[in-house]
């Protein structure tokens, strides 16, 4: 902990309207091999929404974990109301008025709304039993502040994502927070829900809360924040006021060089339809139909993008197309051949490559060496196997070649995939899936969580395959990525493909509205508490 005089604290930086409620000074945190935070300064005032902007892996989450007592900084100090404090754990953070809404909701599905909110701050009727009546009353009252009709007995596991977000916010407010941190709160929300969250944030600001809003979405930050602090590679690179900046400026700060917000994708020359989907219906794990009667085609040599808010049936659509999920109805044709309901292996043989959204789940066996991961689909085929016998030599020769070709940074072909960085792991998958006699590439959130360099690499590779006549289906919750690469864009809403637009002329607002409403006039949908209405 570096000591600095605490006398000068009360003087707020910037315009000095109000004193900072919270100050973090010179926060430094090292993890093995990474300098996650490097002397970060941050201050937040009461009645302010302060946005923390940065790429994935820039160090935002580490900084907030330190604030919340989940990580211990190597250097630096935290001041509340000008007094240095040491936050040794979440309990301490909460008791000092700091609350956090985590990116991945910290809710216990089997518990009720009330139980989730009370957990850790239980009102007691006597030393042993809880006072349920009083707490339920208070939770209802809290909800009414935002016009929410809360049923405290409802199980959280049955709530929609939007409602879970509300429970998280109630949880924070129930604890009498003064400083509220929201870590990427909009990542899983529809534009409507996002708007609503912004309204809530503005209400909180008016009531005098200090709000830290973490995001990597430029327009959101510009819309809602009072101040924006940008961090890159663990360092603060600058602060801005929304009225004095724009997306280009922020993007450059965030990435560290001038960024073309739209990549150069060149000309495409679409040919014959390669993938033809008709009347496709798919069910989710719980047996509910989440893809209804979807039809589209992807032509050879074009990128067909599917935009949509996460959870509108894209996952099930993709899994059905690569053979991981049962097709409940309709047909899928590949190059004129009916492949409806074929297994992943058959589809792979027929020329389908797949870059999964969750690379640790479907893409890689982390415990296995790179060699085995590179032949994960073809391990049983010559030259990698003769009958039942594996040919280690052939596997290794191929692996070394692929590692060189796809620029996978690794000391050896035989180290486990878990030792690679995220970008290099994704390159291993790309090396495996982009190879061979391809007809169709299914890219599901291919760049999620990657650094800009890796994103560009993967986009370049995708465009290169497109130019050799491969049909590419790109599914992404990142509208920007879809707009950037697609020749045509389909929009998914509640399991239906509600529109197909030309990729080069599509308007961001128009696509956003389609994603949010499905193109119906009525626009705003009443938000239901139950999931999957």
């Amino acid at each position: 902990m570096s000591e600095s005089e605490s006398g000068t604290v009360a003087v707020a930086q910037g315009e000095g309207r109000r004193a900072a409620v919270l100050e973090m000074r010179g926060i430094t945190k090292r993890y093995p091999g990474v300098l996650a935070n490097d002397g970060i300064d941050l201050d937040v005032r009461a009645g302010e929404i302060h946005a923390l902007l940065g790429e994935n892996g820039a160090g935002k989450s580490t900084l907030m974990n330190i604030l919340y007592g989940l990580a211990v900084p190597d250097q630096g100090e935290i001041l509340l109301d000008g007094k240095p404090v040491e936050i040794s754990g979440p309990h301490e953070a909460i008791s000092r008025g700091i609350s956090m809404v985590h990116q991945h909701f910290m809710l216990v599905p089997v518990l009720s709304i009330a139980e989730n909110i009370l957990l850790g701050e239980e009102p007691m009727a006597n030393p042993i039993l809880m006072d349920r009546a009083a707490s339920h009353r208070r939770i209802r009252e809290l909800g009414q502040r935002f016009g929410w009709e809360v049923d405290p007995e409802q199980r959280v596991g049955s709530l929609s994502v939007g409602w879970q977000q509300r429970v998280e916010i109630l949880k924070a407010l129930y604890r009498n927070a003064r400083v509220l941190v929201l870590d990427e709160p909009t990542a899983v929300l529809t534009p409507q829900e996002t708007k609503e969250i912004f309204e809530v944030l503005r209400t909180l600001r008016a009531e005098g809360y200090a709000v830290i809003f973490i995001s990597h979405k430029l327009y959101e930050v510009l819309e809602v924040a009072d101040r924006i602090t940008v961090i890159r590679r663990g360092k603060v690179v600058g602060s801005r006021i929304p009225s004095e900046t724009d997306e280009e400026d922020l993007a450059e700060m965030m990435v560290g060089r001038e960024v073309q917000l739209t990549a150069d994708r060149g000309e495409s020359h679409p040919g014959e339809p390669m993938l033809v989907v008709e009347g496709l219906r798919v069910r989710d794990d719980r047996g509910r139909e989440t893809v209804h009667d979807v039809a589209f085609e992807v032509r050879a040599g074009e990128v067909f993008g599917i935009a949509g808010v996460a959870g509108n049936g894209q996952d099930e659509l993709v899994e059905a197309l690569v053979g991981l999920r049962h097709v409940a109805g309709g047909s899928v044709k590949l190059g004129g051949r009916d492949v409806t309901g074929h297994s992943p292996r058959d589809l792979h043989q027929a020329g389908v490559g797949f870059v999964p959204g969750d690379r640790h789940r479907f893409g890689l066996v982390l415990a296995f060496p790179i060699t085995d991961n590179l032949v994960l689909n073809d391990y049983y085929l010559a030259p990698y196997a003769t009958g039942m016998r594996r040919n280690e030599e052939a596997i290794r020769t191929y692996a070394e070649q692929a590692i060189a070709e796809y620029d996978v940074r690794t000391p050896s072909a035989t180290i486990p995939a878990s030792n690679l960085s995220g970008g290099n792991q994704q390159k291993v998958i790309v090396a495996r899936e982009f190879e061979g006699d391809l007809k169709l590439l299914v890219l599901d959130q291919p760049t999620r969580g990657l650094d800009v360099g890796s994103i560009e690499f993967i986009h370049r590779q995708a465009v290169a395959r497109r130019d050799t006549g491969v049909a590419i289906l790109l599914v992404s919750a990142e509208l920007d990525e879809v707009l950037e690469l697609s020749d045509r864009i389909g929009v998914m809403y509640r399991g239906r493909l509600v529109a197909v637009l030309d990729g080069r002329s599509a308007d961001r607002e128009e696509v956003g509205l389609l994603m949010a409403t499905g193109g119906r006039e009525s626009g705003v949908q009443p938000q239901t508490m139950e999931d999957g209405a």
């Binding site: 792979h348 066996v365 296995f368 689909n377 009958g387 039942m388």
Partner: protein, 389 residues
Amino acid sequence: MTTAAPPAPAASNAPRRRSLGERIRAVALLPAIAIGLALVIGAIVIILSSPLIHGFDPALPLVAYRALAEGSFGSVQALINTLVNATPLVLAGLAVGIGFKAGLFNIGAQGQFLLGAVSATVTAIALNEASPWVAIPLSLLAGMAGGLAWGFIPGFLKAFTGAHEVVTTIMLNFVAIHLVSVIISGPLRGTNVTFARTDEFAAAALPVLIGRNGHLGLLFALVAVPLAWWIIYRSTVGFEIRTVGANPDAARYAGMHPRWITVLTMSACGLLAGLAGAGEILGEVRYMPASYGTTVGFDAIAVALLGRAHPVGILFAGLLFGAMQAGAGLMQVQAGVPAQMVGLLQAVILFFLAAELVVRQVLRVRTGDGEMVSELQTVSQSYGDQSSR
């Protein structure tokens, strides 16, 4: 085991950056430390309990351990006894270890062993008058089939209903005990016996090849170990098993069938344990009692863990535990130390292996290898996901 391919000539084409000595040190150092620490703790227990034996005697552990060693390695017959004890442990150890590779925790080697034994018994009694050339192979096959069935059930339930194999195999162990009791005390009860057991086997009894009791069954483990090694590490099926164990979702995308691999692996595990039971009953006991007391199932877990789920490691671990069991009798006679000391040593060895991280830190041991059995990460952590399939 349908493969007819011969064991491949070693890993000549595997990458080899470390020398053989270094590799042996890397995998064997911690087990060796665990064994050493267990002997120390065992010695302390013996000294503390010596007043109950002959009076306080700090030298008693030396006497006891010497008798233990003599009983297991001191003569040709002692060595044979060691092999006889080690054989079922190695086979059942493989039945647990191969399960680990597929991400399965087979606590059911006990029940599979019993089913193997009783299936072999039924066949052996039925073929008591037949030629040994018919009776022996058929009885062994029946034993393997019985074990396989008892492995198939939890495998199938895990794959298609999500019922966790840890619980189902424990339950099946007890069902097996009662099933054996029904069969042996009922239809198969012998004619000239004082307690519930079968008659002596005639045609199906395994021939003794060496010493007093060095029966044919000793060869089973010697065949099973290289075969298991080849299948796991050098065959495509083994690759599928290991992939399913490490990441079932990725296995599914790679075109493998995790459910069937689960069924196949559990069945193969059951087969091995069943063979262990058949060999033990046909070769060593030579009749089947209605309540066959054995701890082979839990010993097999210890063997698999000490052998790090590697067939060669399991061979050595099985030999070690087999030797301890072979010498336990002499230890009890010569030193007055109860034979249960062997179980105690096993538990303490396992304890130090389980607390491996702590042992490493305290003793500042650095070896290249990571965890005891890395596949275990996927094993018991799936316990809470029982109903999510």
